[in-house]
Symmetry: D2
C-alpha cells in the first residue's frame, strides 16, 4: 500500500532517520531524454534549510538513479532511485520514544503496527515526499513534451489570503520570494506572519492553489477514478493536507446553477476544467488546505505510552509553516496523477475506430 | 477503472437508460447474515420521487441478488446484483443527442470515447450510485457487527448553514424531514429555499457532514492511502461533489498549531479522528461540498456538436438540489472505504507477534 | 479476487445453482461493433448437452447484456452481463451436503469459508466459465480487427495423442467432430475411448493445444508478467487444468541449446513465439493438461464432515471428459490475456518518441 | 508491471550492468525479527561463481537494506533494498549491441521499447532474480514461524531424471552437491552431463521439483487466482522456465479418474495438496521445466538489426545449465506466493462468525 498510480506508478520507501528515502517508478515511457539537473532542482525546491522560513535541517538530498536509464534516455524498465539521509540528529528525538505528540502520527503508528521508528517521525516524516518529488520530476519530463504545465503557489497563510484569482496573477513571480506567493505585497505579509509565528514556537497553516495549463480533454475515468477525485486523494495524501476543492469550490457555495454553469455566454470556468470527472481542455485549478504543523517548539501537554499526561517541548528541526516547501510537492502529485491518466487515455485513443 | 476498494471491492456497471444498473461485490466476508430489508431500505433512501424536493422520476429500484448468498448468509464468493431500469422516458432526452449541456459530462464523454449514450446522461447519471448504495449496505452489515456506525446529514444549503457542530446535534432527527437536516428549524429554512429555487427552474448546492462513531484505531495506510485521502477520493467521486475537508478543515484556517492541536488538556477533536492518515479511535467527521446541479429546467445557452451556440431548456426529471438524496450515498462510500481498511488492518493485526 | 486482467478486465460472479452466472467487462475499447450472434455462438460451444460426450444437463445459456452497448456499438463503459441458471436439479446434490468428494473442491471451500453452497459445486462448478466465454468473445471482436486469430483443439485424450504438430494439421477441421480434434482418425479413437470410459462411470483427461496466429511482436511485460507466465496462470485457472507448457516444452527436455535455439538457419519455432516473456511476431503455441474429472458416476469411498469414511455414487450430470467443452474456454482465456497485453502495449507504442 | 503479489508485494528494479539491482517489499508483517545472515545466505545460493557448474562471473551480491527495519525488527513499512553490481565486464557485450541472439530477449526488447540496454542482457538478465531472492527470504522468515517449509531440488537434467518421487528422497541432501539433486548417484550423473555440455560450449535444461510442507488448508482464491495458477505464473516468470505442472501432472495423463482420485482408501496425493485451487493441508508439490540457456559459447548464426544473417560466438560469462542456481529462485517464488495467500486468508479467517 505504498504505491500510487495505475500505469505510471510510484512505489516509495524510507524513513526519516533510516539509511535512505527512495522508490521505484514503473510505467515510465521509453525513449525520454532525462534531464537530471531538472530532477535535482525539483528536489532542491523541497529541501529543508532553503530559507529562514523552513526547518534548519541541512540535507543535500542528492538523488542517485539505480536503473532504467541508458545513454541518457529512459528504457521503459523501472527507475529505481534513492536519496541518502545524511544530516540526522537522531538523539534529538530520544524524548519522543515513549511519548505521543498531540495531533501527530506517533500514537496511530504505534497502535497500527505495535512498533515504530520514533526518530524524526520515521515513515510519517515529510521526508517521505522526496520520493514523490523525484517521480513527479520524471512525469513532468513527459508532460512538458505534450505542452502541459503545472504551477502551484501559496494562496493563503492563516488569515492572509491572496486578493486575486489565479487568472489575474503573474505566476512567474512565484519563485521570487521564499513563501512562494506570486503577489509580492501579499508574500511580504505572509513572510512576516510566518516569522512571527516561528518566533513564538508556534505553527500556522493555509492553502496552496495549483493551476494546470495545456491539459487535453478526455483525461479521467468516469466513476470512481474521476480526475478530481484522484487529484483529491493525491493532495490529501500529502502530510498535513486536510482539505481539497476545485473550480468554484467552497467559495461558490452560495451560487445557483444558473450562476455557476459555464455557458458559452458566461465565459467562466467555474468547473475548474473538469466535467463529469473528465478534463474538458480548459485550465484545471484546485486548492489544498494545509493545517498548522503539529510539532511545536514550545511546551504543550502530551500523553505518554502509559497514558499519563506530561509536558513536551520538541527539539529537532521543524517548519513553522509547511506551505512554501509543499508547493513543489503539490505540483509533483498533480504531475504523477496527470501522466497516469494520460497513459490510460492513450488506450482510449486507440479504442476509437478510425 | 470501474472498481473501488482493494479487498472489499465494488465493480459497477450500468447506464441510466440501459437495461439495468448493478455490480459485483468482491471480498465480502463469509458467514454474514444478510438483511435484505435493510439493503432495500437504503436504496429507498436514495430513490427518486421520495419527496417534493427530488426529481419526479418514479423508480422502484428493486435490487435482485444474483449470487454469493446461500441460506441467508454470505458465502465469501462475489455478490452479483442488479436493479432494472423501469421508468425511462428516453424520448425526453432526444434534444440532448447533439447538444452539450453546460458544466455537464456530455462534452467530455463524447471527447473521451468518441461515442456516448446521451439518454439520461448514460453512465454519468447519478443512477450509477445505486450500485454504490447496495455495496455500502453490505459493508454496513459487517461494520455494525463491529460497533461502527455512520451517519451523514445535510449541513448547509446555499447560504443556510447549520449553526451547530455535529456533537451538539441529535442526529437521530436526520430522517425526520425530507432535506435530511437534524436541526428542525434549519431544515425548514433549507426546504423553503430549495422549493423557491425549484420553482425558478434553478438549482442549488451545499454541504453534507458525515460522522463515524466506533471506528477502531489503526485504520488507514500511512502514505498514499491515508484514511482521509481515500475518504476524500470516495466522496469526490460522487456526482457533483467538488470539495472535501475533515476535522477543523477550511474553517480552522486561522488557527495556530497551539490552538488546533488536540492535547490531553484541550479535549478537542480538531484532528477529526485521524492522525498521520490513520484512525485514532475517536469520532471521524468530514464535510462534502456539492455544487448546484448543472441541468436546469430553464433556458440557457449551450454549444452543439458543431460548435454553434444555441439555447436549451431541459426536459426530463431533475433534482433542484442533490443534497437530500446524496446523504445515503455519502454514508455508503464511507462504509465501503472503512470496511476495506478494516479488512486490510486484519492483516496488520495478524502481523504482530504474540 | 474474482477479477482477471489489468486494463481489459473481467470480474465474474455466480454459482452453479444460484440465480445467474455473469460478470462485468471493464476496459472494453469504445466504438467496437458488437456481433451478439458470435457471442452466443461461443457460449453454445461450451454449453452442456451439445453431444453424447458431454453432461446431459440442458441449459440454453442465453446471455443478456445489461450495459455498455449503445446502438450496436460498445461505449467504453463497463459491460454487465448475465446468464440465468435454468435447468437446475438441486436435489441431485442433497447427498453432497455433508460429504466431501475426493479430489474435489468440496472440502477446501468448506475449510476456507466455513460455509459453502454444495449444490452443483457452487462457485467451483465449471459453469463459472460462462463468464469467461462471454468476456473472451468480446475480446475476440477486437483481436480479429487486428488480424489475430486463436484456435485450440484436443491434442491428447488419455494415451491417444495426435501424431502431428499443429503446423501439419488442418485446424479448420476441429469443429467437425464432437471431441474437437482436427485429425479425423485420432478424433474417432478419442471418441471411442471417452464413450468407453463414460460407460464405466469413470472419467479421463488429456491435453488441449492452442495456437495464436497474427500476434504482433512486443506483447508481454518483461519480469513477473511475462506473456507465457500470464497465459500459464490464465490456463491453470480453468477447472481441472493441472499443467502448462509452451514452445518445445516438456517434450524438448532432451534437447541442447544448440538444437533448441531458433537460429535464422534452423527455421524452427521452438520458442513458441515468445522470447524473454515478449511475443516475437511468430505463431504462439502452448499446451494445457487437464486431469480426469473428479466426480465419478460410480461408487467410491469418501469422507463426510465428521471425518468418517462412507461411500458415494454421484448423481447429477457430469462430463466423462472435459476436453471437448474446454476447447473454447482455452481460446477464451487466451483472447482475454492477449487483448489485455495489447492494450498495455498501446501505451508503450505511445511512449516512443517520434 | 514490475510488481508481484497483492498484499505481500515485491516491486523490483535493475539491469545487469546498471548501478544496482533492488526492490521494495510492501506488506511485510510488522514485528518480525530479521535474520540478515539468512537473507544473505539465500543470495549466496543463487550467486554466480559458486561452483564449476555455473558462470564464472564473480559477484559478492551483498544486500543493503534501506528502510523498514528498526532495532532488528520489521516495522510494517516498506523494505527498500539493493545489491550493487560490481563485477561488470560491459565490453564483453559490445558485439551484442547490433545483433539479436537466437531465442533470446534481445529482439523482443528492442521491438517493445525501441531502445534497450544490451549490456549483459539488461533487464532480461537473470541478475533480476536477486530482488526475488531477497523478498523470498523475508517471506520465509514469516512462513517458518507458521511451520511452513519449502524445499526445491533438481529433478531432471536433459535425459537424466531422478528415479524416485519426492516422498522417497532425503531432501536434506539437496545442498550436498553443486547440482542440488538430493540423490547422490543421480547428482553425479547430472554433474558429468553438465560438464560435458559446458566443454562443448553448449547448454542443457531440465526440471526442478518443489515441495511445500506444513501449508495450512484454505490458501488460494477460487477462480482466477487459484493457488496452483498463481504458483504457475510465479514459476513461469523465472527466466528460462517454459513449463509447469503439479500433483500427478503430465505424468498422470493416462490415469482415469478412479485411479487419480485421492480417496480415503487410496492414501495418494495425486492432487498435489490443492483442490479447486485451494490448499487442502497436505504436501504441495510441483515441477518447473527449464529450457536450455539460449546464449551459447560456440558459434551460431544470428540476425543483426538490419536483418542480415551473421555469426556470433558469445563472450561473457554464462551458465551451461541454469538448474542449480534456479533452485533457490523456485523456492523464493513459492515463498512469496504462499505468504501473499496466507495474508489474504487472514481476512477470510476474520470473516467467519464466531
Amino acid at each position: 500500500m505504498n504505491s500510487f498510480g495505475h500505469i505510471f506508478r510510484l512505489t516509495s520507501f524510507g524513513e526519516s532517520h533510516g539509511p535512505a528515502i527512495g522508490g521505484v517508478i514503473d510505467g515510465m515511457p521509453a525513449g525520454i531524454e532525462v534531464d537530471m539537473d531538472f530532477v535535482q532542482q525539483q528536489l532542491n525546491r523541497r529541501r529543508p534549510g532553503q530559507s529562514a522560513l523552513t526547518t534548519s535541517r541541512q540535507e543535500q538530498d542528492q538523488v542517485e538513479i539505480l536503473s532504467g536509464i541508458f545513454e541518457g534516455r529512459t528504457t521503459g524498465t523501472p527507475i529505481g532511485f534513492m536519496v541518502r539521509n545524511s544530516n540526522q540528529h537522531s538523539s534529538d528525538y530520544d524524548n519522543l520514544r515513549d511519548v505521543f505528540r498531540p495531533s501527530h502520527a506517533d500514537y496511530t503508528y504505534q497502535h497500527k503496527y505495535g512498533v515504530r521508528d520514533h526518530r524524526g517521525g520515521g515513515r510519517s516524516s515529510a521526508r517521505e515526499t522526496i520520493s514523490r518529488v523525484v517521480a513527479g520530476a520524471f512525469a513532468m519530463l513527459v508532460l512538458r513534451q505534450h505542452g502541459i504545465s503545472i504551477q502551484a503557489y501559496t494562496s493563503q497563510v492563516g488569515p492572509i489570503a491572496l486578493p486575486l484569482p489565479y487568472s489575474a496573477l503573474d505566476l512567474s513571480l512565484t519563485e521570487s520570494n521564499p513563501v512562494r506567493c506570486p503577489h509580492p505585497d501579499t508574500a511580504q505579509q505572509m513572510t512576516e506572519l510566518i516569522e512571527k509565528v516561528k518566533s513564538e514556537g508556534d505553527t500556522i497553516g493555509g492553502t496552496i492553489t495549483c493551476v494546470v495549463k495545456g491539459c487535453p480533454a478526455g483525461l479521467g475515468e468516469p466513476v470512481f477514478d474521476k480526475l478530481h477525485a484522484v487529484l483529491g486523494q493525491a493532495m490529501l495524501s500529502i502530510n498535513a493536507c486536510h482539505g481539497f476543492d476545485y473550480g468554484a469550490g467552497f467559495e461558490g457555495i452560495n451560487q445557483r446553477g444558473s450562476e455557476q454553469n459555464d455557458t458559452p455566454d458566461s465565459g467562466t470556468n467555474n468547473s475548474g476544467g473538469i466535467q463529469g470527472g473528465i478534463s474538458n481542455g480548459r485550465d484545471i485549478y484546485f486548492r489544498c488546505l494545509f493545517k498548522p504543523v503539529a510539532t511545536l517548539l514550545r511546551e504543550q501537554s502530551v500523553l505518554d505510552k502509559d497514558g499519563r499526561i506530561t509536558t513536551l517541548k520538541a527539539r529537532g528541526r521543524h517548519d513553522p509553516c509547511v506551505l512554501p516547501r509543499a508547493v513543489p510537492i503539490v505540483e509533483t502529485m498533480a504531475a504523477i496523477t496527470l501522466l497516469d491518466f494520460m497513459l490510460q487515455q492513450q488506450i482510449h485513443k486507440e479504442r476509437l475506430p478510425q
